[in-house]
């Protein structure tokens, strides 16, 4: 009976420690490093492949998603010191970007400074790219340049590759 009591007490201690550890996991994240730089702010979603008439300008809708809690400046930010979001296609890709249409951003203010107004993208957004491709299969490495922040920290400007197979027929 004494042995059994010891086993029960030991089991209760283990349960108590386990519960405390679980509580720490839930609420202890407050003290963790909150760097946002480790987050991929923008992901290119689709399309991965498009077929367009060779030599003719075709509209391609490029879909992107911004990580929750972050925003990036729109293509037309409200201040000239802010870095706009831009899309480009390097020369020699077999396809060229004739023009790009960007969505209108959302006007927001920061909680800590309501006087500061920003025009940003959040969530998912689409860039309409007018592309002209030569005949053939081209792996195009487009570039999206942006600068992301949350409401208290900013990440450095970044350029991500928008990889797309463009088939000119």
């Amino acid at each position: 009976m004494v042995g059994l009591k010891k086993q029960v007490y030991a089991a209760l201690v283990v349960a108590g420690v386990a519960a405390l550890a679980a509580q720490g996991q839930i609420f202890g994240s407050n003290a963790q490093d909150r760097s946002i730089a480790k987050v991929d702010a923008v992901a290119y979603l689709f399309p991965e492949q498009v077929t367009v008439p060779a030599g003719k300008a075709s509209l391609v809708a490029l879909h992107f998603r911004i990580a929750p809690g972050l925003h990036i400046n729109s293509h037309t930010p409200k201040e000239d010191y802010l870095i706009p979001t831009t899309f480009s296609i390097p020369a020699g890709s077999g396809a060229r970007l004739e023009a790009a249409s960007y969505p209108a951003g959302t006007d927001v203010t920061l909680p800590i400074d309501p006087k500061t107004k920003l025009n940003v993208y959040t969530g998912e957004f689409i860039i309409q790219a007018r592309i002209v491709a030569t005949r053939g299969n081209h792996l195009v490495q487009g570039k999206l340049h942006y600068q992301a922040c949350n409401n208290s920290q900013c990440m450095p400007p970044k350029t991500v590759t928008v990889a797309m197979d463009v088939i000119g027929k």
Binding site: L4, Q7, V8, A11, L12, V14, A15, A18, A19, A22, Q23, Q25, I26, F27, S29, N30, A31, D33, R34, S35, I36, A37, K38, I66, P68, G69, H71, Y81, L82, I83, T106, D107, V108, T109, L110, P111, I112, D113, T116, L118, V120, T122, G123, H145, Q147, C149, N150, N151, S152, Q153, C154, M155, P156, P157, K158, T159
Partner: protein
């Protein structure tokens, strides 16, 4: 038989606690994600703060000597951290494209002026970021012009140094801006901040640097 029954219920009790902890953890993170999704989708004027608690930055430099550096100011004059030995220093990494950095600058100016008579200085470290190639002279010239414009507009009284990207690594990478390190008179980092906090929090850390 009775013993086995007791052991069985004790084990069941332990599993129930672990199960509850797992469910609570999942539910907490699910709600946080839902809040984030809702905020991103709404046509909101304010971007909600998705922090999950008190903002803290446990820099690995806390309690250690601030890494030495020498950078040029806007006039091309070389400025070393070592030349501020005996003073408390706030090393503030910022960038011209960083709105939170620009919001806190007036606070830094006011606090610098308030505590300068006690032997305190701010060093503003301009940090353009990873995107600009070191050889891109045009981009760096443009960056310097933007820094000069901002410094002139705000009336920044403390040294603003260029080339912060070159010293970011010993300061932990400095991937997020603004990032500040509070250094006491002995050159030891006593506190660090990542992101926009408040004038009072900055002042608290300045007092800490002056006191140590």
């Amino acid at each position: 038989m009775r013993r086995n029954t007791i052991v069985f219920f004790v084990v069941l009790f332990i599993l129930a606690i672990l199960g509850w902890a797992g469910w609570a953890n999942w539910e907490y993170h699910k709600q946080a994600a839902e809040r984030a999704e809702a905020s991103a989708a709404a046509h909101a004027e304010m971007i909600p703060d998705l922090s999950d608690g008190t903002l803290t930055y446990n820099s690995p430099l806390n309690g250690k000597s601030a890494p030495a550096f020498t950078l040029e100011d806007l006039n091309g004059k070389k400025v070393s951290l070592a030349s501020y030995s005996g003073k408390a220093v706030l090393i503030n990494f910022w960038a011209t494209w960083c709105t939170p950095c620009k919001i806190e600058t007036p606070w830094l100016i006011e606090l610098r002026n308030k505590y300068a008579p006690q032997g305190f200085e701010v060093l503003g470290i301009s940090t353009e970021g990873d995107d600009v190639k070191p050889s891109d002279k045009a981009a760096w010239d443009k960056d310097k012009q933007a820094v000069e414009k901002f410094v002139h507009q705000e009336g920044v009284p403390y040294p603003v140094l260029m080339g912060g990207d070159g010293i970011a690594q010993p300061y932990g990478g400095v991937d997020d801006l603004p990032t500040s390190f509070f250094v006491n008179r002995k050159g030891v980092v006593v506190a660090a901040q990542m992101g926009l906090t408040s004038a009072s929090e900055i002042e608290g850390n300045i007092r800490k640097a002056l006191a140590d």
